[in-house]
Amino acid sequence: MARITAGVGCSHVPAIGVAMDTGNTKDAYWEPCFDGFEKSREWMKKANPDVVFLVYNDHCTAFDASCIPTFALGCAAEFHPADEGWGPRPVPVVKNHQKMSSHIAQSLILDEFDITIMNEMEVDHGLTVPLSVMFGEHGVDDEWPALVIPLCVNVVQYPPPTGNRCFNLGKAIRRAIESYEEDLNVVIFGTGGMSHQLQYKRAGLINQDFDTDFLNRLTTDPVGLSKMPHVEYLREAGSEGVEMVMWHIMRGALDDEVTEVHRHYHVPASNTAVGHIILENKKS
């Protein structure tokens, strides 16, 4: 039986990808940011998942304004890194566990989640930056150490799905994964955030208190946290901070009780607060 053993929360700031792709991770600006990922990469090697279920959002790359799915599940054999305007990132093609992803698609729909199935999709920094953060440097001709099932969430056009809906989707993803017969170790990523606003006169908003409270409550009060209304993210964490709803999907897929094994928080990466957490289900 497949099972989810751990969850990773992780910002997916494009500049982090750029820093890695241009070899600048040791300069004064980036070093404190990347230092906090050392332990994550060690942890990831030990965790050694067969599959990463990766929750992220597309940033008007694979989806233009003509078609905006709330939840789009990637069911293609592979996903190519997209050209976001300055050429595709020099990272490996992302390979799916295609049979498992169709099983999950089917299970989620029968479980009354109205997902969109994607049999062809490019992936942007929202997906590839967390892979780079957690797996370290991998060139185009290399392979990612795990298969990846991408779930793409609309957080660009208001309203994104509610935190509560995301949390419950996490539970449904867990049911889907646990009903898959193959013996697989799955780690789920929730990405995006932390506080940031990229646009207009309030750009640059960072709310460390909010972010810290959010990271704390992921362990201590996940259900309560998932009830936060959208306007609170927008006001407190910036217009793009609402990406954090995606972390509830990750959290919903874990046990009620989890152990926080790593946390890293750093300001700034470009316009953004970088937040990162690793949560493990207690061994049974």
Binding site: C60, Q199, P268
Partner: protein, 134 residues
Amino acid sequence: MGTRKDYDDIPGTYVFDADASREGYHLNQFCISMRLQKNRDEFNSDEAAYLDKFPMTAEQRQAVLDRDWNGMLALGGNIYYTSKLAANDGINFQQLAGIMTGMGQEKYRKMMLDGGRSPEGNRYQSEWDEKGES
């Protein structure tokens, strides 16, 4: 419908909701077309001719030609779209923020290094009104 929205009183912020998305549709579709090199080449060689392909309003078109980044947002543009036009112009997200905030690149960058813009005094429009910010 002029429905009041619970996020209308957040200062200095456009929420890209269904109304904005409807208004900005062709503007945003133009911007996303900048993702591909062949479109960038065509746009850069004759902006006006390229823009003719997108039935946007005269105001939206002028905002694009003027690179009026805040104007585009006011007319239904979304930052993830307009940033693709900025990338074409060699402007990254942080530089763009320097322009949109009116702070300029250096001052903005320093604010971020110092921990970013505080939420204090920046949650409600009334707080900005008191400070005389618009």
